[in-house]
Symmetry: C2
Subunit: 212 residues, 2 copies
């Protein structure tokens, strides 16, 4: 299908492609809220008119759908990678947390938007359903990790999964790519999640990632 040239490229003036439109829209959605952002605002940010904007996308909801898909796809790709890893559930859970932080950092604006979706339209409900699917994956991983004795068994795995990813997801509230490598942050999150805030005690070894 994708023969050749019609690939739209970023040029000096207008000539926008869907990606550029999406990027501008998502930025505005996150800054001012989805509802508070008008199609006029999106068009203005791109330097075009509303009519021209509608020439590129079918409507406001489609912009939202594309954005949350991009976020959710990233998380599921991370989940698929750890699923195929041949190691303990505990290590896979750690790896999933780590990967999720990286996905969140790489697709920050898309994930931010995803996490603010409440489920009032079909598009939003679909996004929520996929989030629940991801949650179920994490919960199952936590359950297995408990079964193998890798993590504490005195907490409901669903609760643990929620609190764990509650911490991860809260990154969208303050993480900014310009300061700090995401890998370092991912390590911090994994350490805090698995070892807690308590003082490092030299008699224990955490077996964490070699990546400094």
């Amino acid at each position: 299908m994708d023969t050749a040239r019609p690939v739209p490229r970023r040029r000096g003036r207008p000539g926008h492609d869907v990606d550029a439109v999406l990027a501008a829209a998502v930025r505005l959605f996150n800054t001012h809220g989805y509802d508070a952002t008008s199609m006029f605002d999106v068009a203005e940010a791109l330097g075009i008119t509303k009519s021209t904007l509608y020439h590129h996308v079918s409507g406001k909801e489609q912009l939202l759908a594309m954005a949350v898909d991009r976020a959710v796809d990233g998380l599921f790709e991370a989940a698929a990678r750890v699923r195929d890893a041949e190691t303990t559930a505990t290590v896979r859970l750690k790896e999933l947390v780590r990967s999720s932080v990286l996905v969140l950092a790489q697709r920050l604006e898309f994930v931010t938007l995803l996490l603010r979706v409440r489920g009032n339209t079909e598009v939003e409900q679909h996004a929520l359903a996929r989030r629940r699917e991801f949650d179920a994956l994490v919960t199952e991983l936590a359950r297995q990790a408990q079964a193998e004795g890798g993590i504490r068994a005195d907490v409901d795995p669903a609760t643990a999964a929620r609190l764990l990813f509650g911490m991860v997801n809260s990154l969208v509230e303050w993480y900014r790519p310009e300061r700090g490598r995401p890998e370092a942050l991912a390590d911090t999150v994994v350490q805090l999640a698995f070892d807690g805030l308590r003082t490092i005690d030299t008699t224990t070894d955490r077996g964490d990632q070699p990546e400094q």
Copy 2:
């Protein structure tokens, strides 16, 4: 029989007071979003008309202001209580986490709304400013706890505070008062935050022991 009648009572029909209006508004704001909720929706939920609603409150933004104040006041009351406690910073930090979970549970809908505020109006900016103030308090407590050796010192205290309360705040996404005592949840959160997910140990290891 109250001393005087000006205290508006919950009655069969209308006769609403500001608290009832606020409760209805906040529920709708959380369910459908602040922007997506019209003053008509609020009025309809109360069984009155828009005009009557405007007789009770000065406008939509005032409803938001009252709601977020109620949330933020709760958090600062908790902070004031731990500040006066005569104990280590580490214990006070734990207590603040614990109290915050309880405040969050008690004023769930108000806190939920607070955490969704983005700062696009004066009211929202004021709410954000108070949240930052609270964050600073937590960060300072974390710094003191590190200084006294109560919590690990290899993590920036601001980062620790954010991740810690990221976990706490994520409760609004799934906690429902009808299932489970908030005190039990608060204990779980404190345990996870301070001791981590790792197996309660005596002899720690990496967790790849054979099952059980």
